[in-house]
Symmetry: C2
Subunit: 370 residues, 2 copies
DNA sequence: GTTGAACCTGACTGCGCAGTCAGAAATTCG
DNA sequence: CGAATTTCTGACTGCGCAGTCAGGTTCAAC
């Protein structure tokens, strides 16, 4: 009601109210205001009520800088991410922000500079300069020369990275390899003799793991995998590599390191007169929203961004809280959620062109809905 | 060399060095250290050198909280974004981070909570609580009841939003309408009588503008536009709406509010036995990386994320610096960069099914490379 | 040599908050 | 009823830094 009109009403922007202002209005001490704001014990209901009313009336907002200064905690998590808008990295970022927010922390991002070595360390440095309690490395890529990351706060990496300080490292290790293996197994189970692989840049951890899963799937059956071909995640690279693969009659099945690459590949195959899946089966990775609506709808591996993000955050928070080495085992899923989404881009090998199309065309096709 | 071993070497984590530590080692006062760190004038080369050496030796990092406390500036820009990994929002976020970083500011993100009204204001509140010097609203959507956004720092919106404080508002207004118009004009110029429109959710500013451009393109020619259909940006909604459109023989051209929707649409048309572009032409929006590799390669409108982001940042920084109403006119491009990328999904109307395919199939097709 | 200006430096202070502690008031217990 | 305990409160302090100011030094100009 009676607005305590600020002393200098004439000035442009009046000073933000601090705890002393609230205390004065409420008739208590600054320390009591602090207690109320931080929900501490030992404040009478009467005082609490008065303070809250005064704070609301003044529009009081605690000053984070001052709080951080006295507590030494910033209440902020930093994330180093790649400067790409690709589905994978972007989804991870969204999941991380959500998890961090729900944990009550602020969220800072430092993107790496594209094509710049050591840019992960630079990202870490920028985060440290602005003040964070912990750092998450999303989509880690290798630093040159196996350099060690340096930081005086806990670091957690979503996926393995060499050179991490002792704290660190994360969950997802095992299952990404498993995912790559499952995709490959699916194709081998269909009867394909070998599965070709369009890999991602091998300085990315995720790309390496998928390749490793693909390799293992072959070796487990005593098959020598064909040489893999390295792309750059883009549809363009999938298209270019696809033109090569289309020329090789031995190629009947391809596992792509992501859905974008698969999109380019399919176009190249089609332009070469090959049919998917009748002549060549294709598996992607990511399950981007459009995957179910490509022609043909793409068999792919659905990523578990939410779960990965939450594991990373849990690990980081426990380290921030002081646990020297939080044990994460057991939380690693056993794969019961079946990340492989089988759609119409995979089928048994055909290998005789011109054969009549199978009836799949009008068959019901699973579309993702999550 | 002679490492000044910290007093309590036994303790786990030793206290981070402050300016007094550096000053002691360098043989100067704390204030001089402050001067060197902030690159102020009036420091002798000798002092500067000593301080820098000492700072490096101790691994000194200025404490942002203390600095923010004394200066009242956080050196941080906050962005409120949608919690989606879609190409558009994610690209904007990447561009914004880059621009903010280059301006020497830190970058905080607050995502909105999906499906929650008032979540933009909540995002703003979260940013204000953690301390930012200014806020950018990326991909603004309407708040319920035309509520005014409240903040005691400058806000800039990437696209118009009702209820913004006087400071605010941005650049892109004009050209997004123009983009929608250009896409539609392209189809009308090809000879289509009308262009159907799969719109985005109309509480999104971007979706409204594109629809408006589509509408204007019709009205300018004295054509009554057909009713638009509202999707939700997803391929799924494009597919569902596509099934309706496929049943209407009048439909020969569709402008989709984004490339994902177009992807779903094309599948629905294809499944209905229609050919793109022979029976129906399709234009998308965004120019996602896969757009050039769909079948057919998609005619679409390329977004100008970098430019938009930079304009928003420039506007925000100038307001932070004190300019009450920075005038942005003139910076609005005149369209000389031709955002419409014409590929193979658009052609003149055919309208007699079963006609021989035109020769486009093998024709060279532009692929984006930027 | 004197005057002034530019240059350089450090003591002191306050930013807004939470930690510490001493003490008052209310409650429980023997 | 007094003693021990719990609850409540505020004075005081320091976190690490940059702003202010006073003083000292150097240099050029008169």
């Amino acid at each position: 009601m009676n607005e305590p009109s600020p002393p200098s009403e004439s000035a442009g922007r009046r000073k933000a109210p601090d705890m002393y202002d609230v205390a004065r209005l409420a008739g208590v001490s600054q320390k009591t205001v602090s207690r109320v704001v931080n929900n501490e014990r030992y404040v009478s209901d009467a005082s609490r009520e008065k303070v809250m009313r005064a704070a609301r009336e003044l529009g009081f907002r605690p000053n984070t800088a001052a709080r951080a200064l006295t507590t030494g905690r910033f209440h902020r998590i930093g994330v180093v991410s790649l400067s790409t808008a690709g589905w994978g990295p972007a989804s991870l970022l969204v999941a991380l922000e959500r998890g961090v927010r729900e944990a009550g922390f602020s969220f800072s991002v430092a993107h790496t500079t594209e094509g710049r070595p050591q840019s992960m360390q630079e990202g870490i440095d920028r985060l440290l300069e602005q003040g964070v309690d912990g750092i998450i490395l999303s989509e880690p890529i290798d630093e040159p020369q196996g350099r060690r990351f340096e930081a005086d706060v806990p670091i957690v990496s979503l996926g393995y990275t060499d050179g991490l300080p002792p704290k660190s490292v994360v969950p997802t290790d095992a299952h990404v390899v498993a995912d790559g293996r499952e995709a490959t197994d699916h194709l081998l189970d269909l009867g394909h003799a070998k599965v070709w692989h369009i890999a991602g840049p091998q300085n990315w951890w995720a790309a390496r793991e998928r390749l490793e899963g693909w390799r293992q799937a072959h070796l487990d059956r005593g098959i020598e995998p064909p040489p893999h071909i390295e792309g750059d995640w883009s549809p363009a690279s999938g298209y270019e590599i696809g033109k090569q693969l289309a020329a090789d009659p031995e190629v009947t099945a391809v596992f792509c390191t992501n859905d974008d690459t698969a999109t380019g590949l399919i176009l190249a195959l089609t332009e070469a007169g090959l049919r998917v899946p009748e002549d060549v089966s294709v598996v992607g990775f990511d399950d981007i929203p459009a995957a179910a609506y490509l022609r043909p709808p793409l068999t792919t591996v659905r990523q578990t961004f939410e779960a990965d993000a939450n594991q990373a955050i849990a690990a980081l928070l426990s380290r921030i809280a002081g646990a020297p080495d939080f044990d994460l085992e057991g939380s690693d899923g056993d794969g019961s959620d079946r990340p492989l989404i089988i759609r119409a881009s995979t089928a048994p090998p055909w290998r005789h062109r011109g054969a009549p199309l199978p009836e799949r065309r009008g068959a019901p096709i699973e579309r993702t809905d999550s």
